[in-house]
């Protein structure tokens, strides 16, 4: 069969373009840190925007929508890793395209290699600027669980906390 059934909800192309420009970089960053290659990231982004446009709930605020789409993208990445059950191999050539310096590339590799439970917290805290309480809400965890995962993620990435 080569047709799909769409639900009643439909958004204009203009609104879709607005949402795409708002979220694409953030979602690509998240997806790449999980999947390590742009081809799979493209599939995830397509799915995430399909869900945002056609299967999302009513949001009370823009921030609410952002948290929802972050969570959906993370879930899609985890499902993708789980479903295509093969040892994940990351192409080093692709990584070079995304990091200016070799040191940055090494850090990117380390992030990709992290277990998903630490990776998510690290990404949301350091790259998306979320607070502990917000990360807990996105991941449906307690704040203490988020703090523990952040601490462990820092240890694995060898991030030294700045002295205050």
């Amino acid at each position: 069969m080569d047709y799909v059934q769409y639900p009643e909800q439909w958004i204009s192309e203009e609104l879709f373009l607005i949402k795409y420009s708002i979220y694409k970089t953030m979602l690509f960053r998240i997806a790449f840190s999980y999947l390590g290659n742009k081809h799979d990231c493209e599939d995830i982004l397509q799915e995430a925007f399909i869900k945002l446009c056609y299967h999302s709930p009513d949001f009370q605020s823009d921030e609410d929508e952002k948290r929802w789409v972050v969570r959906i993208t993370i879930n899609l990445c985890k499902n993708h890793l789980k479903s295509f059950w093969r040892k994940k191999r990351i192409d080093t050539e692709e990584l070079e395209a995304y990091a200016y310096e070799s040191e940055d590339r090494d850090v990117l590799i380390s992030i990709i290699q992290l277990s998903p439970k630490y990776k998510t917290v690290i990404l949301l805290f350091y790259f998306e600027g979320y607070k502990i309480s917000e990360i807990a809400d996105i991941m449906k965890l307690s704040e203490s669980a988020v703090k523990m995962r952040l601490k462990r993620g820092r240890e694995l990435l060898k991030i030294e906390l700045e002295e205050s």
Partner: protein
């Protein structure tokens, strides 16, 4: 690395213009009802215009082809031992590999590269749609000279439930006898065996993760065949009942060869 430096990493992680174009094109060509309507109209008019003799001739040719393919697709399958291992915290493999992908709108075209017929379950082909109109053939060449090949695709059901099936088919160079599967997960996994209606030995792993989105069922099948070579399937089912999973597995278009 100091925390501030980590926060300010200079990474160029973003989509490129060609990816943006493909994603936008995918959405801007959507039409809520006309796509479905056009397809139904197209199929109906096609059958009206074919002369009856041509229809009969076509049916005879198709039937004889099906008989021919059925005779060819005999395989030997084996019960698979599934091992569960808790993953190390850094478990992804970084390797120097060259990977190429080709995307196809039809599954048959992906299998044609391997000179094989479409070996995906016919139940999925008939009742689900190919996600993103994409079936991917991927080839990975490693430093040691080895090459792995695989065909993979995601399918969604044609209803509001949006059930999902992800299928990976991997041809291998060696016999799958005594070949097992190792799953790296810290979720609870229950394994079981299932023998399909055509005698194929499948192993099923039911994953019960900490959170709902981690749940799912994966079926594995390994085979040896004189005509198809060696290969394995890994099929992931999301939000699909076991009854339908068995229907899907029953429809894998290969047949267990009876041995004396």
């Amino acid at each position: 690395m100091k925390e501030n430096k980590f926060k300010n990493l200079n990474l160029k992680l973003d989509t490129d213009s060609s990816m943006d174009e493909r994603i936008l094109e995918h959405f801007t060509t959507f039409s809520k009802s006309t796509n479905a309507f056009k397809f139904k109209k197209r199929v109906k008019s096609f059958f009206i215009h074919i002369p009856r003799v041509a229809v009969l001739f076509t049916i005879l040719i198709v039937c004889s082809s099906l008989v021919g393919w059925a005779a060819i697709k005999y395989v030997k399958t084996y019960p698979i031992d599934i091992q569960i291992q808790i993953p190390e915290e850094n478990d992804n493999v970084i390797s120097n590999s060259e990977r190429t992908r080709q995307h196809f709108k039809k599954v048959e075209d992906a299998f044609a590269i391997l000179e094989l017929p479409n070996l995906f379950p016919t139940y999925v082909m008939n009742n689900y749609y190919l996600n993103n109109d994409r079936c991917t053939y991927m080839e990975t060449k490693y430093d040691d000279g080895s090459v792995s090949k695989e065909i993979y695709a995601s399918f969604y059901s044609n209803d509001a439930q949006a059930k999902r099936v992800d299928i990976t088919f991997l041809p291998t160079l060696t016999s799958q006898k005594d070949s097992g599967v190792t799953m790296l997960t810290d979720a609870n996994v229950t394994t079981s065996a299932y023998v399909t209606k055509s005698g194929l030995h499948c192993s099923i792993a039911e994953i019960d993760g900490e959170e709902d989105f981690e749940d799912g069922i994966i079926a594995f099948l390994n085979f040896d065949s004189e005509t198809l070579g060696y290969g394995c399937y890994s099929i992931y089912f999301d939000d699909i009942e076991i009854k339908e999973i068995k229907k899907i597995l029953d429809s894998i278009p290969i047949v267990e060869k009876e041995t004396n």
